[in-house]
């Protein structure tokens, strides 16, 4: 089995110049297959279709999380309305400011074990899958890897891959 067999083909993406507000609307209504399930993250592509980053829900949480909170244990002392204030301020920030620009990706030919290796060691639950032309062909989700493994547990020999 290879990354290309399990990935969900790319349907939607973000652009670096979008505001956080625009981006979160796209994330919320993103298609997966035929249905609009929303997505927990989407690749960020520039005008020529090259991936320049990835914006996930975690990056949006970080957008309202002040940097000083990571330096000290202040979690016990926050006040009512803190997130609301910071969210209002974060709405106008751009995707390029907030995205993760060092993206771990795999090629469509990557063996499944390589994908699992990346997911476990880098604590990510989705991997952009790059096609032979270098563009993003799809996204490999942890959940689909899990489903593939459960099929193997049930004795399926994984005929498709």
């Amino acid at each position: 089995m290879k990354a290309g067999n399990l990935m969900v083909p790319l349907q939607e993406y973000l652009e670096p110049g979008m505001t956080l507000k625009e981006a979160s609307n796209i994330l919320r209504r993103a298609k997966r297959g035929e249905e609009r399930h929303g997505a927990k993250g989407l690749p960020v592509l520039d005008v020529s279709g090259n991936m320049v980053g990835f914006l996930s829900i975690r990056d949006i949480l970080k957008a309202v999380f002040p940097s000083y909170m990571t330096l000290m244990d202040m979690g016990d002392f926050t006040w009512e309305g803190m997130v609301e204030d910071l969210a209002r301020k974060a709405g106008g920030r751009t995707v390029s400011e907030l995205m993760t620009s060092k993206v771990i990706s795999v090629s469509v030919d990557a063996p499944l074990m390589e994908c699992i290796d990346h997911m476990l060691k880098n604590h990510v639950n989705k991997l952009p899958v790059l096609g032979h032309d270098g563009g993003v062909a799809g996204i490999l989700y942890e959940k689909d890897v899990f489903l593939a493994i459960t099929r193997l547990l049930d004795g399926d020999t994984g005929g498709g891959g």
Partner: protein, 448 residues
């Protein structure tokens, strides 16, 4: 006096020294890498034998400085996760009753006191995030808090032997005790701090206002929630108190400060009951430690070839042998030099220079007798005051300044070089001016 021979070794060592300092100032390569590279060159080219670099106190690494720094860092690394610093910060903010200017003043005083007892870098790393947090809660500009706390940490650090690296280096070189610093520097720092507090109140007092409902946010915080490990906190505070008592007594007990600090660090490691000392040890700022090691060896090289001796002859010619003039010139020269270059390499260079002056002036004496000549004492104190307080002049003058500038940049509020200097430079000049009057009155008018 042995005459200086300006042969190939002299020029090679001088070239390594100048090149290293130029690259350190240019910041093109990390200063620690430059220092180690310069030190290696001194050894590889045979300017300094390895034995001299490692084992001869006048030429090589000052292990007293190194172990004092490492031991204090280990103690702080164990104390840090207990939540003590968060507790103190929240407590201070509540003590200020949520008033922005009162909190600014209290944070400055707390920062100064902690900096006098622990190293500045750690103090500012722990205080700054809480300061921004409190400013956010009050919806006031965090920059006055950040800039002033960095300045206060440099002022506070000047008060004691352990407060600031230049003092640690001077104490070790000049064989001065913790109590020498308490008698000679702490009184002037108390005066300097009072004037400084008055100044920041004038600068920022009117601009920092908040609303009552925001003050309530502060008053609603329960600082006792900050304490994560009460048992370890108690042990840490007991050890810290013992270490301070040890510092007070180290002169009388004939123990070096590094011995006291190392004993404290080992006691706390024992008491903490840790199964793995690696985290407490690995969080030591090794980059700073190796910066010191590299610098000591580079300076050892230029001491050995006679460059420092030559410089001290020229310096005494310049002040016509007057120690009063030397002291005054040294204070102001040190202040402006430290504002623009790191005061650690600066003091590393000036220390042997002052020692050499003592050799020229009192050739018949040696050791502490020579270094503690009444005429020379104000020179040491002027060096300490100038080098420590001078760091406040610019954003790059002291590590604490560099840290707050970096932190505010991370939260999207850039403090430009100019913006920092508008506050830092006049305040630095004020503090050095007070110190000048102090040194003049105390050592040259009343001679006490």
């Amino acid at each position: 006096m042995t005459p200086v021979v300006m042969g190939p070794a002299f020029w090679t060592a001088t070239a390594i020294f100048i090149l290293s300092y130029v690259v350190i100032i240019s910041e093109k390569i990390h200063k620690t890498v430059v220092a180690i590279a310069g030190a290696s060159l001194m050894l590889v080219l045979g300017i300094l034998a390895q034995r001299e670099a490692f084992h001869v106190p006048e030429l090589g690494v000052d292990w007293n400085v190194i172990f004092l720094l490492i031991s204090m860092m280990v103690i702080i690394n164990i104390l840090r996760p207990t939540g003590a610093f968060e507790y103190i910060a929240i407590r201070s903010a509540k003590w200020g009753k949520g008033s922005p200017i009162r909190i600014l003043i209290i944070f400055n005083l707390v920062t100064a006191v902690i900096s006098a007892l622990l190293n500045n870098i750690t103090t500012i790393l722990l205080i700054a995030p809480v300061v921004i947090f409190i400013a956010d809660a009050l919806e006031v500009d965090p920059l006055p808090y950040l800039i002033s706390c960095a300045l206060a940490s440099n002022i506070g650090g000047t008060a004691t032997l352990i407060g600031d690296p230049p003092n640690i280096m001077i104490a070790s070189k000049a064989e001065l005790t913790f109590m020498d610093f308490i008698y000679n520097l702490t009184p002037v720092i108390v005066v300097v701090m009072a004037a400084y507090i008055l100044a920041i109140k004038l600068i920022w007092g009117k601009r920092l206002v908040t609303r009552d409902e925001l003050k309530a946010r502060i008053m609603a915080m329960d600082e006792s929630e900050a304490i994560k490990d009460p048992a370890l906190l108690k042990k840490s505070l007991v050890v810290l108190a013992l270490v301070l008592i040890g510092f007070v007594l180290h002169g009388a007990l004939h123990l070096q400060p590094a011995t006291v600090a190392l004993a404290g660090a080992s006691l706390l490691l024992l008491l903490s009951g840790t199964r793995d000392p690696q985290p407490a040890l690995s969080e030591v700022e090794w980059s700073t430690i190796f910066f010191f090691i590299g610098l000591f060896i580079i300076i050892g090289g230029v001491v050995k070839v006679g460059l420092i001796s030559w410089m001290s002859v020229k310096a005494l010619e310049l002040t016509r042998g007057s120690l009063f003039a030397t002291s005054m010139v040294l204070m102001w020269f040190s202040a402006f030099a430290s504002a623009f270059i790191d005061n650690i390499p600066y003091v590393a260079t000036m220390n042997p220079l002052v020692v050499d002056m003592a050799r020229q002036l009192w050739p018949g004496l040696s050791g502490a007798q020579q270094l503690h000549q009444p005429g020379l004492m104000p020179v040491w104190w002027s060096l300490a005051l100038g080098a420590c307080l001078g760091g406040n002049g610019t954003a790059i003058g002291a590590s604490a300044n560099v840290i707050v500038v970096g932190m505010s940049e991370k939260m999207g509020r850039r403090i430009t070089f100019g913006r920092f200097m508008i506050y830092g430079m006049p305040l630095m000049v004020m503090t050095v001016a007070i110190s000048t009057v102090y040194v003049w009155l105390r050592y040259y008018v009343f001679m006490i």
